[in-house]
Amino acid sequence: MASLRDIRRRIASVKNTRQITRAMKLVAGAKLRRATDAALAAKPYQDTLARVLARVAAAAGDSVEHPLLTAPDNDTDVLVVLMTSDRGLCGGFNNQLAKRTQEEIDRLIAEGRKVRILGYGKKGIGYFTKRGYDVETVAIDIHPSTYEDLSRQLADRLVAALQADEFSRVMLAYNEYRNAMSQPPMFQQLLPMSSGAAGDDEPTGPAGEAEAMLEKLGTPMPSTEYLYEPNGQYILDRLLPMALQGRILQAFLETQAGEQAARMTAMDNATRNAGEIIDSLTLAYNRARQAAITTELTEIVSGAEAL
């Protein structure tokens, strides 16, 4: 049986751990709020962009032609943009994504394609480097203030690479942030964009209101026909890179929010577990103390009797 001092030492050490996990949970909670606020603040821009893009694409119909929408002359190379966190202690957040992505990549490789990973965040880069995949470290120790720059750089790079036929498509692997409890891993096509993927949601905002009002008056919307200034093609040329960049930025923001949410859950569990361990250790300590007292008493009494 462990001595009293051993048990006391263990209790102290578990208490320390509990303090750390509790602090980490609080920090993650604060960061999660900031991350979800940032993701929410970015939403109106993305929504408007997606809505306008969908309309432009719909208005242009099948005639729409743009390098970002058409498959390049290359069907061997695939780029995978992988977004994970830089730090661990966030439950299965990185591992789930890495495993899912590995399955997808192995399938692509089995189809005879060459896969190159563009890694953001230490955890994912470490996972795939260790397993011998072709990984390029694009950025580690990523601070949220650099998300906009990073997404602009990545978008520029991808557009240039697409025009040079350096790959057949680009996939994006990240954790989608649904809510604080659920951040499922995603593996989605980033390029070439399909014009439908921009989102066909009901239009909202001024245009949506205008549509709704005209519908009420019984007048059909003057279709969704726009006048373009300067012209449709020119606008599409500008809109598509903006949309690509927006999509990447969104993924960064969701990765950050998801990481903090996952860490909060993990640290909450850890704190609770530490509490349970402390309870059972305290019980063992009390029992050991009582046993020691009883032994001492017995010794005294039997010693007195012997006299």
Partner: protein, 129 residues
């Protein structure tokens, strides 16, 4: 009444009602009133002037982006927005001179050139606001 929304990647920068809006289109200034035709226009760095109900006006400096004009309102998606007067005249003048000097040095079409041109346009917009 026009419903106006000016949105940047980080936030909805301005939202409200206006009777008239002036938008810095790529091909020139556009004045928007009630019942405007549906237009999708690229916009450049410049000044947005809003005529509010009751005669007040609001002047904003905006970065490049685009504007969606509908019969009932204006939605602008731009890089940045700041109220006129955020940067004072003297600073803007200095910025403009620095940017023009950089513009003269840089080679056409390079990143440095684009950067300098953007700064020059921004300074010009601030001066004209």
């Amino acid at each position: 009444m026009l419903h106006v929304e000016i949105v940047t990647p980080g936030a909805v920068a301005w939202k409200g009602e206006a009777t008239e809006v002036q938008v810095p289109g790529l091909l020139g200034e556009m004045g928007v009133l009630d019942g405007h035709a549906q237009v999708l226009a690229l916009t450049r760095t410049g000044v947005v002037r809003l005529q509010l109900e009751g005669g007040a006006t609001e002047t904003l400096i905006v970065g490049p982006g685009f504007a969606e004009l509908t019969p009932l309102g204006v939605t602008m998606l731009v890089d940045m927005v700041e109220p006129a007067g955020t940067v004072d005249h003297a600073t803007a003048q200095r910025d403009l001179e620095a940017a023009e000097a950089a513009l003269a040095q840089a080679q056409d079409g390079t990143d440095a050139w684009r950067e300098a041109e953007y700064r020059a346009e921004l300074a010009r917009a601030r001066l004209s606001a």
